[in-house]
Each structure stands twice: as structure tokens, then as C-alpha cells.
Amino acid sequence: MAKKELKPSQIAAQIEAENAAALEALRKRREKEHRKMEKSKGTNKQVGKSWKNDIGIFLFLTFLGLFMLLPIYIAVVTSIKPVNEIFIMPPRLYAMDPTFDNFKDLFIVANNSWVPFSRNVFNSIFVTVTATVLHVLFACTAGFVLAKCRFPGAKAINKIVVIALLFNSQVTYIMQYIVMAKLGMINTYSALILPLIASSMGLYLMIQSVSTIPDAMIEAAKVDGANLMRICWGIVMPNSKPAVMTIIIFQFQAAWNSNGGSLVYDEALKTIPTVVQQIAAAGIARQGAIAASAVVLMIPPLAIFIAAQSNVMETMAHAGMKD
């Protein structure tokens, strides 16, 4: 009798060991894949490769890259130009006497409006953080279920998610407004936050990425007695870190740049992009301040993207549509 009681625990231990082995193997494979991706192509035998060709490509890309960067560069330069230099003719591509006056100006102008600028900054951070956290939590659980569970309706929902990639919030804005007006959300934080949570892009990337995790691992955990929630957060998500990082970045960008100008009319609820737009409405005279605000707005998404660049590339490798 005692022997029989011991058996299940032995099996459990064995399964646990197998589980750990499978996890380790997966991690190793991922690392290997990653290293392969990172590895320079010095060893391969591709045809038509030459040192001259590479220089040509580099020069061409540099030329195009300068065109891509020029507007951003002008924004940065304009933001550190003192007023007398902004109106020099012809305009210069550098600042002779760089100052941070425009950034100070921006805060003065913004503080002189109805509510202090700190309030708008708080709004932006609050909206971005809430929308990102909720989106990531919900998209991860939903993505896991849609990728790995079979239940009535799963296929249909997967198809709908793919089609929904076409209908981003820009196209459905007017109908969304009608729905939100009906639900009494206009002029509240929910009008700014809730539509962002439903972005189909994040869910799609999550589904694609989770499908690459071997079924055996999930089956083993099921046998182990873990429920779906445990499997999702304990096993699948730690192994989908790049995807989680990627949807955090995309969502952060979308939320940080979202301009809820027509959804809220209370000054105390407006986010930075909306306020910047109002300042920009003053026209060319505020050029310095506008440029300063653009630079301030640009920095957070850029910094986050640079920090997590390799994660994004790994996730996008799985982003393809297979059918």
C-alpha cells in the first residue's frame, strides 16, 4: 500500500525533471538561434559578394539615411537655437549659440495655460502606463489561449484577429467615438485608455510568437497539474520574453503618441501631444518651443526601442502570416 502511494510522487518528480530538461533545451535552442542571427556573415559563401559591393551599399544607405534623419535633426537643432537664430535668412542647419531657452519657454507657455504642465505630463504617463500594462496582461493571456488551446470558436477568433489588423483605431475612430459617446465615456480617462487596450497588433504578435513554443512543454505542465493560468504566466511567458518586450514597445509608442484631442475637452485630462498641438497652433512664432516639445516627446519611445531592439527583431521574425 505504502509503495502504491509513493508511486505518484515519483512520477511527479520524474515529470518535473523532464519539464526542466525541456525548458533548458528550449532556452539553449533559442540562444543558439539568436547567436546564429547575430553572427556576422564572414563565413558564408554567398555569391556575388565583394568588398566593393558592400561599400556601395553602405554609401547608398547612408545617403538615404541622411534623408530620413534630416527632419529629426532639424527638429533637434531648432530646439536649441536662440530666437534670433531661428529667423536668420537663409536658415542654417546648425546652431551657433545653442541654448536651452526653448525648453524653458515650453514650460512657461505650457504652465500659463489653464492647468499646470505637470498635470499634462502626469496624464500622459498615467494613460501610457495603464494602457500598456493592461494591454500586455490581457494580450498575453488571450494570445496564449488562442495559440495553444483548442476550443469551439478558437479558429474563428484567430481569423477575426488577423482581419482586424486592417482596422486600426484611425479608421474606426468615428464609429468608436459613437460607441464611447453611447457608453458615456467622452471626457474621461477611460476614453483615452480603453480603446488602446484593444489593439489587435499586440494580440497578433503574441499569438504568432507563442505558437513557436513546443506543445510538449505545455502538455507536461498539464499532466503536472498546473492550471492554464499557471502555465501561461509560469512557463509560456518567461519563454516569450522577446514578444512581451515587443508588444510593450509598440503599445508604449502608440499610447505615448496618441492624441485624444476629440475624446476629452477638459484641460485637466489632456495629454502632452494634445497640448503640444495647441501650442503649435500659435504658428511659426513658437517654432523653438514646438521643436523643444517634439524633442521631449520623441525621447521616451526612442530610448525604449534602442534598449530592446534585439527583442523586437526576434519577435518580428515570427510575425509572418502563414496562410
Binding site: 483605431s169 459613437i178 480603446p195 516627446l297 519577435t315
Partner: protein
């Protein structure tokens, strides 16, 4: 006959032909068994339903009404909105033309451009790869810095482009880039291209990185002699999924050109030169509050996007196989 019955026995319960009642009973049973799945799906799906599915599905019903947000219920007018749109609204017909011009230039052109950029970047050293990916992706991250383009295309000699052209002696007087009907479309297309290296571009970059290097070696042995052949016979066929994803992203950005035009050329633009379908929907929705008409416009746009999506899906599918 005997073979048929034998076959039936082997079939699994969900593959066997079942009566209507049996099938629903089975589905219901499966649904109860997977209760946890639905619970985990629910939070996202509720938001998804309210803010994506319902708005998209509402476009057609509201399109049949005359609705201004103030008078409930909306007045049913049948096909009146669609009739007006296609037969009486000259601006809308112009908007279709403008949208198509944008769709052709920013759609396929930017698609091919991002593919080639991704390809060229992939040929470089890993550090340079990272740098160039960042450079080309930066504009779509920078958000709304269209005001810089306003500085560049500014109509007086304070504008960078005008200043540069006069300095070089190409022109003698300032050109009104953003208000002259001859130039405004080109300017907006350039800015739209500038901002179009988004998620689709990243997917293509990743797709190139994911291709097995052994394929190229095998190709070289099989007799592939230059990079073009390599591209056509190896690279493109093994990037199908990424190409499809990028195509969807491209369709979305090509059909919804609006905000760039409005921020650069003002609203309404000279001669409605950059007035797209999306701008028209914005005009009727936000400025005139004719939500019924605006929804009808959006519905037509949805339809166009879906059709385009299916066509491209079929074309790419054919090419891949």
C-alpha cells in the same frame, strides 16, 4: 460498403457526421470543458469587441441613417447616403482619385522600398544593421513632427528647401510648396514615404535575418550566379509570411493617408489636392457632424481595404507556391 462502415468506425467523434442536436451537445460539452480558456480570453475580447468589432460592424447600419449625435434615434434614409456619395458628391469622387494616387505611390512603392532597404541592410555588418534599422524606423517612432516638414517646405525663403534652391541658383523666387496645387501632392507623398517604414519594415528585416544561410550555399552549388537570382529564387520564397504581414500593414497605411496631408497642406487643401477618402470622412464626421454620411464613407473604405487585402493575399499565395 464494408469498407465504408469500417472507415466510419475509425473516424474521431468530431470528424464523424453528427445530427444537429448531437453536434450542439458536443460543442456545449467542449465549451464547458474549456471554461478556463474563455475566462482567460474574456478581458481582452471584451475590449476588442467594444472598441474594434462593434465600431466596424456599426459602419454599415449607421451608414443607412441620417445621424448627427444629437437626435436619437437616427433617421433611417436607406441608400440615400451611398447615392449622394457616388452620384452627387464631386469632392468624394475627387477623394477616391486622390486616395488611389496615394495608394499607388505609398502602397507598392513603399512596400518595394522597404523590402529593398531591408535587403541592403541585411548585407552589412551586424553593428551597421542595428544602426540602419534604427535610422529607418525612427521617423515612424518620432510621432507627429510634421511641423519640421512645414519648415522645410515653407513657402517663404525661411523654408529650408526654398533657401537651398535659391542658394544653388536653381530658382530665383520662393515656391509655395504646400499651397500650390502643382506641388502639394508630391510633397505629401514624400512625407508619407518618409513615415512609412513601420512594423512592416521591421518584419521584413527580421525575415531576412531568419533565412537559413545554408540555403544560399545550396543555391550557389545549384548554379545561382548573381544576387538577383538569389533574391528571386531563394530569398523571396522563404519570406512569404513576413511579406504577407508587411502587405497588410502597407494596405492600412496606404488607404488611411489623412493626417499627414491635413497637417502639412492644411484643411481643406488647395483644390482638394490631398483630400483623401479618410479626410472626407473626417470632414463629415468631426466638422459637419454628419455621422451617418461619414459612416457610409468609412464602410466603403473598409470594403476597399478588405477586397485589396484578399487580392494581395491570393496574389502572394500564388507566387509563393
Amino acid at each position: 460498403m464494408a469498407a465504408e462502415t469500417q472507415k466510419k468506425e475509425i473516424l474521431l467523434p468530431n470528424e464523424r457526421k453528427m445530427s444537429f442536436k448531437e453536434r450542439w451537445g458536443y460543442t456545449w460539452h467542449e465549451m464547458k470543458r474549456n471554461k478556463m480558456c474563455y475566462i482567460m480570453l474574456a478581458p481582452f475580447m471584451i475590449f476588442f469587441l467594444v472598441f474594434t468589432i462593434i465600431p466596424v460592424c456599426l459602419a454599415l447600419p449607421i451608414g443607412f441613417t441620417d445621424f448627427d449625435m444629437a437626435h436619437f434615434p437616427p433617421k433611417f434614409v436607406g441608400f440615400q447616403n451611398f447615392y449622394t456619395m457616388f452620384l452627387e458628391d464631386d469632392v468624394f469622387i475627387g477623394a477616391i482619385r486622390t486616395t488611389l494616387i496615394f495608394a499607388i505611390f505609398t502602397g507598392p512603392l513603399s512596400y518595394v522600398l522597404s523590402f529593398f532597404l531591408a535587403w541592403l541592410i541585411n548585407e552589412l555588418h551586424p553593428v551597421l544593421k542595428t544602426v540602419f534599422t534604427l535610422i529607418f524606423y525612427a521617423p515612424s517612432m518620432a510621432g507627429n513632427i510634421y511641423f519640421v516638414w512645414q519648415l522645410i517646405f515653407s513657402g517663404d525663403t525661411y523654408g529650408y528647401l526654398n533657401a537651398a534652391l535659391t542658394e544653388l541658383g536653381i530658382t530665383t523666387s520662393a515656391i509655395q510648396w504646400l499651397t500650390d496645387a502643382n506641388y502639394v501632392l508630391v510633397c505629401v507623398i514624400i512625407v508619407q514615404l518618409w513615415v512609412s517604414m513601420g512594423a512592416g519594415f521591421l518584419a521584413m528585416r527580421a525575415g531576412f535575418q531568419g533565412i537559413d544561410k545554408a540555403m544560399y550555399e545550396a543555391g550557389a552549388i545549384e548554379g545561382i550566379s548573381n544576387r538577383w537570382q538569389e533574391l528571386i529564387f531563394i530569398t523571396i520564397p522563404s519570406m512569404g509570411p513576413q511579406l504577407m504581414f508587411a502587405a497588410v500593414m502597407q494596405i492600412v497605411s496606404a488607404f488611411t493617408v489623412d493626417i499627414v496631408g491635413r497637417s502639412l497642406a492644411g484643411f481643406p487643401s488647395t483644390d482638394y489636392k490631398v483630400h483623401t477618402i479618410m479626410t472626407h470622412a473626417f470632414d463629415y464626421g468631426w466638422i459637419r457632424y454628419e455621422m451617418g454620411y461619414s459612416s457610409a464613407i468609412c464602410f466603403v473604405l473598409f470594403l476597399a481595404m478588405l477586397i485589396c487585402n484578399n487580392l494581395i493575399g491570393k496574389l502572394l499565395g500564388k507566387y509563393m507556391n
